[in-house]
Subunit: 221 residues, 8 copies
């Protein structure tokens, strides 16, 4: 039995139009930017290293807003931000690039975020001093490397969904982020979900999907 399928609906997911730059050449990125400009599209570039950004010529960099910490760039200007409904909680200073990639992705889509940094569980009191601020958010993105204990501690303290982003910060058995990833998946706190290592962009996309399902307009398909 043949049937007609509305492929176009698949394109209407509301996620940011984004380009992962890490495996692309300067030429390819330049072309993509030109094409986006031609159709007036806003665009989020991720994993664009400072050297990669510097390699772009003036025309390609025109109107590109680059953030070296998160290695993201935005074409097409910022949008007004809604009040923060997402808390982005980072265990250590070294986790900030990934945390900020999530913040930038949310901002690209108009969502503000509360960034809470340096609250690793070895100093539990620092987390406790900020926990009430975190609790009023609708979604929590937790960013941690090393052993990733933050995921379980947060999962037990807040009622919002917790999206764990393990980072590749660490050495020895923690090198590459597998230790933190495993902690996220094996968490004794139910309701914690995980994305790939260092994937701040993906965590923000998941948060955007959750916020969209909560929006009033979602009810009428």
């Amino acid at each position: 039995m043949d049937f007609i399928f509305d492929w176009n609906r698949a394109a209407r997911t509301g996620l940011p139009e984004a380009v992962l730059c890490s495996a692309k050449s300067t030429e390819q990125i330049t072309e993509i930017l030109a094409a986006a400009r031609a159709r007036g599209a806003r665009l989020l570039l991720t994993r664009l290293e400072p050297a990669g950004f510097a390699a772009l010529d003036a025309a390609a960099r025109a109107g590109l807003d680059y953030d070296p910490l998160s290695r993201t760039a935005v074409l097409g200007g910022k949008v007004a931000l809604a009040d923060a409904q997402v808390a982005v909680v980072a265990a250590g200073t070294s986790d900030l690039p990934v945390a900020r990639e999530a913040v930038q992705t949310l901002a690209f889509s108009g969502q503000g975020a509360l960034l809470v940094a340096d609250v690793g569980v070895a100093g539990l009191w620092r987390l406790m001093e900020r926990i009430e601020d975190i609790r009023v958010c609708r979604v929590v993105i937790a960013v941690a490397g090393m052993e990733g204990a933050l995921f379980s501690v947060l999962g037990g303290l807040v009622s919002a969904p917790v999206i764990a982003v393990p980072t590749s910060v660490g050495y020895g058995v923690a090198e590459g982020g597998r230790a933190a990833l495993t902690s996220a998946l094996a968490s004794c706190a139910p309701g914690v979900v995980a994305v790939n290592i260092d994937n701040g962009f993906g965590a923000a996309c998941a948060a955007l999907k959750m916020l969209a399902m909560a929006a009033p307009s979602r009810g009428e398909p």
Copy 2:
């Protein structure tokens, strides 16, 4: 600086009170059930194998509603179900026990679920025949073993958050569920999140958290 912390709020997460039975003795489960009855609590038991259920005496089994497929049991009776807002999509027949654990966990908390089975991507048309039903749900739980390609395909077709539950179904390189787990985490479709292998309960808890954040009452802390 000392300060007062409201630990009790931490207990108010709205997740089901549940007991993982796989590592507990018959005596321990009997005691837990008695304690729950004494305080009039409803209780969800997970990973209670048929042999484990059979080993309970009549007093322990009184009022216990056991589902052998999902290996779950409910103490304290069912509650009325809201219309299905969660789609539980299983790739193959062998993934049904895990899928049903998710359905049972949702039902314990009063959430109906749409169970869509046998829609693995090797026969893509079967998934396509059901995709419109899946799309109207607010959250999608995808359950798959083997290579877990279903997660990415679904992630590209629906706008709702997709919670991937890899299962331990498979042999050779897929034995134990690592292949499917890796596919969930490495998915090229942004916004897919993952829980541990065979963790239907955890996926349902995450879905409950997402639905709770979307509920109107959530707005007033």
Copy 3:
């Protein structure tokens, strides 16, 4: 019991004479090229990085046709191409170097190829728009990194043999290509076969063997 064995037949496999350059010095490659020229042989060089090609002197580079995208070079000139009987299908832009290595290997042996790019399963409709073109080919080489869901989707849609080439494109759990490789091997679509990570050359060799077995002359040993 001793017996005579016709070793020479072993040399008549019809596969391209090729040199893997990645572990060879400039001196060694120069010698190999000189030897090939001396006996008038055509030669395919693989994994020859641009820096490696640039390090060759003019004599060594004489008549060498270098393709930087696939890092291949051909000595001895191109041959006329038969109509495309092999579809080379790449999930993303980053998979193109490997896909093109397969195309160049086929071309070296006189086989045309249909290259279909950027059809990852997160945007299933892009694959569907090209699927009829792919279906008329006798062999399909599928090239994908990340989670490698393309292998299973293609395996369920075409009747031709599908040779999966996992690529090392990806990060976190997908780094190095193991995730895509596992997906190829664990595929729920029967009849999918796999080669090593990034081995576009090997996939093309397998395709050439399959085409040779289908050729009319193959019947008379």
Copy 4:
């Protein structure tokens, strides 16, 4: 842009209709057999252990042809076999169950096979005594556990495509078949392709696809 897609063509792949029994209950297998009988379909059952076969009642077993070595069963009778175009080459006695699963799958589809057993490379002369018989086949399925050296040796000796089936035969570092699988993928002989560990069925399906592409009728789509 919406469009119409002929899903039904996807069902016309010519592969055997098969059921993997290892993760299915007696009740499920009984139902599947009844359904197949009702629509007059032939059916191949794989990974049906002797105990699982014995657990079926007389009605379910009626007309079922069971082969305990390969743990396969056929419903609907045998078909006439074409002359062997596929060589199934097994390194050791312990690899025979997997080799025979391939033979049975081919036979279900009417393809004869040449089974060559006990030709592991530690006794290379045994392989050499049979190599001419193997060479006249159009496709070679190589089945080996332990270190899987057979795959490379065969790949260098025959011009036909070689489908490697690593088996879980082995202990220590070879336990579970990963060692043999890795040897297949890393083979220094170009043109060797691999399927999952112990997947004799999948190898036969790939061989059937290769034979189908070689058939004269394939030319007219």
Copy 5:
């Protein structure tokens, strides 16, 4: 240069004389017990499963004090216990067998222990209710499976050395205890040390060594 070495000192480490029974036959254990009785030695048996204990005859079991939860047995009677200087902290009920193996090993050597159970970090307040009791101990043995977040949280809250004992409790990525072990080693809390998975005996031995170094008599070598 030859020299004389006092091997006997090596035997004077003060650790309990213990026998790991898991890989020994009933005959071997019987012989060992008889030999210990003959020389009037006290002996600790570990990993003696209930079935293994039941298999011993009456003579072998005479005077043997068996604890089924920890699977330990003591020959030669108990000794008076010093006040608890070691806290044994277990995350969940399923970790109790390993925790109790540590307690039994300490008791065999005359050291009391404070056992604190069911204080996993998903319910942080339960740990906080007991933390002052834990803090007065000189050594802390932390026992946890799953993701092992307890190790880091405890390491940040107490000044005593923390010996982490990962347990094999868990499923999916946590199966076998590697996830908890990795968390112990990658802990962001400095001063946490680890022993092998499920090695309650070894943790207790390390604690005994630490207590011995602190004892007044230790000063005079």
Copy 6:
């Protein structure tokens, strides 16, 4: 039930205030140093590569005592050292950087250390010549890469607690330090504990905790 918790006690662990520099920028390290100077704090910097030290400007380097072998730096001057109570035993010359990181960490806190180098077990007599010196120490830190056999040999020869520090020295199966780590954890000598690979700092912190528990003042909480 709410309650008051004395978070401040958690800060009183007596461990050195330290900064892991490997994942921090020159700017961040400069800021941290300035802040420490502002509040008159002593500070230990670890994993500060020579290039990283050289990148600091004169103001940042003022009063900074840098040790290139261990890649540590001390701000705030040295303190008088107590007699060595800790033996730091290194298997080979290549293990010296990690061993010295432990020595520097101890020295920062005023603890002297006995450094015994080049006593790998392949030349057992070298270890035996130094064993009596090692035995009079209260704690032993053993540092070894390759196969890490030193841990077990030392564990059987001394009565003090042995803290094993596996190093990433080695190649092939020993690359990255996993082989040595596994040997530490699987040691047949009871009472050996382990820290992460190359974690000389953590081993020293554990030793400091052990020495603190043994100090007379520890008795009065």
Copy 7:
């Protein structure tokens, strides 16, 4: 160029004719024994579990000399033993089955062996008491599980070749024998070689080859 190859020489390696029984059925073993009797051959059976031996009927067991500890059986009677030239050194009681498999394999070929047991490195003095006996042997087979430190210690103490046989004795990180295997390969003592986990048979074969090369007659091929 074709040429004649003397395959029969390959059969003259002098190694015992042996059958690995673990993956063979009772029927297959019975057939193999009958065939060996028919041609008057001596035969060594390895990995024949007691249950497998008991399953053989009286005819099959006639003249079969079974050793339950090593799970070996000999058909065709014992031969006179030469003085021990091989030392088989086992770390613990649990390593004895593997050690004895080596002893039985040597005995089958007429080589005596010196079995030295229970000399693990945690009690180094026990090894030292036997080291002179070991040193007079021409080849040393070292058998150890857990962390396998024995291999390196022996490698540094004897001038004979040391063949390391890691065993699967151990738990946690040592489970399955990988820890001991890695220690053998990463040994800091040059000249240590390794065989597969639990492969006492293979170690004995290697020893036989070494003794054969040392024999006077070896010089004249």
Copy 8:
């Protein structure tokens, strides 16, 4: 019981005095060379990269015989070589550095070697053309990367002990040499032994030990 042990005998193993340079600084190597010159010792340096050799000053390089292919250097001059008793057999050109490290180590100790290169099993006839030359050697060192099938093939063809040296040559699943190592250990040819990846030095040491045991003088202990 104390006793006297002749440690000095342990030093008389006859293996070359060698220095692994990969983890040593220019200063350390310079010191070691000076010390060796001072006591008139010959010395073998391994893993001395060309850049490392170039970094030595003229005094340090005086009399140092450097071989860039194998990255070895000899201090103290060459010795006369005995006729080749060891065959060093390399599968591919890329395996030559490791093979030559073995040859240089043998030569340092006065042993000649027969180097047979480029005989990988994908072209079995090339190995067969050299097999008689290999067979007359007393020991065979086999050097191979990729899938390491050469080890098993050689093990079945020669009666001499075969020492397998897996190399890190390969990509994808073969990257780093684990695939070849596993093939060596899992080899179906009994009597094959293995050393660590890329450890040509260790293989030569093992060969030297074997040759020493065969020497006439060895008989009189």
